[in-house]
């Protein structure tokens, strides 16, 4: 088979799936190794994204997805009668930022950073498919862990978490000084380590 044909099949699959499709799945269907699939899909992406059209391919972690170009959003909305979603609230953005930069995280951790109960906000972000469960922490109570989704990557225009906007590090005027979020969090983790994890089930003390 020719490269062009593999690319055509890939295009058909991405169109039909709608959702992000993993490289491994494409490789299985095309009966090619993943490196080859990656190379030819990157080429396809390049071709589609440089021609004048309404569609583009995005790379999301280990997947590809087909979507519309953002510059035509207003027309698409009008044609399909899509109401604008209410934008993410400040609370939702804060929770999303905590999850994005620290994943996987527990709800207790999110609550602690924000100083308020975030259960409802977390549910909302899960419903919007921006965050999802990522297993459980191996601690008493086995709290759930949350992380961001591929939809999150798409919505924020990045193809992997390494492309998240950098956080302030040595901003001269801020009080942050040289602390990164990770350091601050690390600190607060060690500080609170002695205590029971806050939040859901109330732990017995160790008397």
């Amino acid at each position: 088979m020719e490269i062009k044909e593999y690319q055509a099949i890939t295009e058909a699959i991405l169109f039909a799936s709608g959702e992000p499709v993993e490289i491994s799945r494409l490789a299985e269907v095309l009966e090619l190794d993943e490196d080859t699939v990656e190379r030819l899909t990157d080429d396809l992406m390049n071709e589609i994204n440089t021609r004048t059209g309404g569609i583009k391919l995005v790379r999301l972690d280990k997947s590809y997805q087909m979507c519309t170009r953002s510059e035509y959003a207003d027309y698409v909305r009008r044609a399909l009668d899509i109401r604008r979603n209410t934008p993410l609230t400040q609370a939702a953005m804060e929770v999303l930022a905590i999850v994005a930069y620290n994943q996987p995280v527990t709800r207790a951790f999110i609550d602690q950073v924000r100083g308020v109960d975030c259960a409802a906000v977390i549910q909302g972000l899960i419903a919007k498919s921006l965050i999802e469960e990522k297993g459980r922490l191996d601690l008493p109570g086995r709290p759930l862990l949350y992380g961001t989704t591929e939809d999150f990557l798409r919505c924020f225009g990045i193809s992997s978490l390494s492309e998240l906007p950098p956080l302030p590090q040595k901003d001269a005027d801020s009080d942050m000084q040289e602390t990164t979020l990770d350091e601050v969090i690390e600190d607060s983790m060690t500080q609170t380590k002695g205590e029971a994890p806050e939040g859901t089930p109330i732990m017995t003390g160790t008397e």
């Binding site: 087909m66 959003a73 609550d111 100083g115 602390t179 607060s188 806050e198 732990m203």
Partner: protein
Amino acid sequence: METISYKVPGFEGPLDLLLHLVQKHKLNIMDIPIAELLEQYMRTIEEWKAINLDIATEFLEMAARLVHIKTAMLLPKHEEAEELRRELSGELMEYKLCQEAARRLAAHNIGENLFVRSPLEIQLDLTYRRTHPTGSILDAYLAAAGRGRRKLPPPAKAFSGIVSRHVVSVSSKIIYVLRRLYRRRDIRYTALFEKAKSRSELIATFLALLELAKACRIRVEGEGDKQVVYMVEGNRRTRNR
């Protein structure tokens, strides 16, 4: 807790308010003047009360915490107060960083303008075809239910207000008090404090007693040194059903 609207206009929570006050009054976040911050904080709370806003428990909890730190600082040796103050500084810096991260992230939000398709409808038998070892279902159950020991989640969120963050040791004191009461139905009030090794343990025990009394799980009778704490019988069942 979800039922209480904690969102006071403009503020995401007590940390947000504190950060606002720190910036507004140009306080040093690394070396917070607690007395001044407390005064500003209380003034804001009073203003809200004056216009009949519901003040959520988180805000009151923070007020109590500031008072606690301030009181602890009055002691001649106040290492503990310094520690509490540093802890608060850390939390504020962390939250500030969180807000900054949220701001930077929000600038990249293009999700609204990208449209994806829903998967093509193909008639397929969706029945799951894989097989799993029989034991994996038990593993999953234990993960979900917590070694088979977790029953229904705590009722009515009765204690959620005190389980959070800094006062978390209160929850262990609640258990401590209850356990002692389960052994005997009544106990001398002062006996509950005898084993405490630190101020914060004393405070936590006291707060635990207040919470339990408020939840009608215990009853305190008598005066002075003769006070006795009683278990309230049967209450949980009615509360819970």
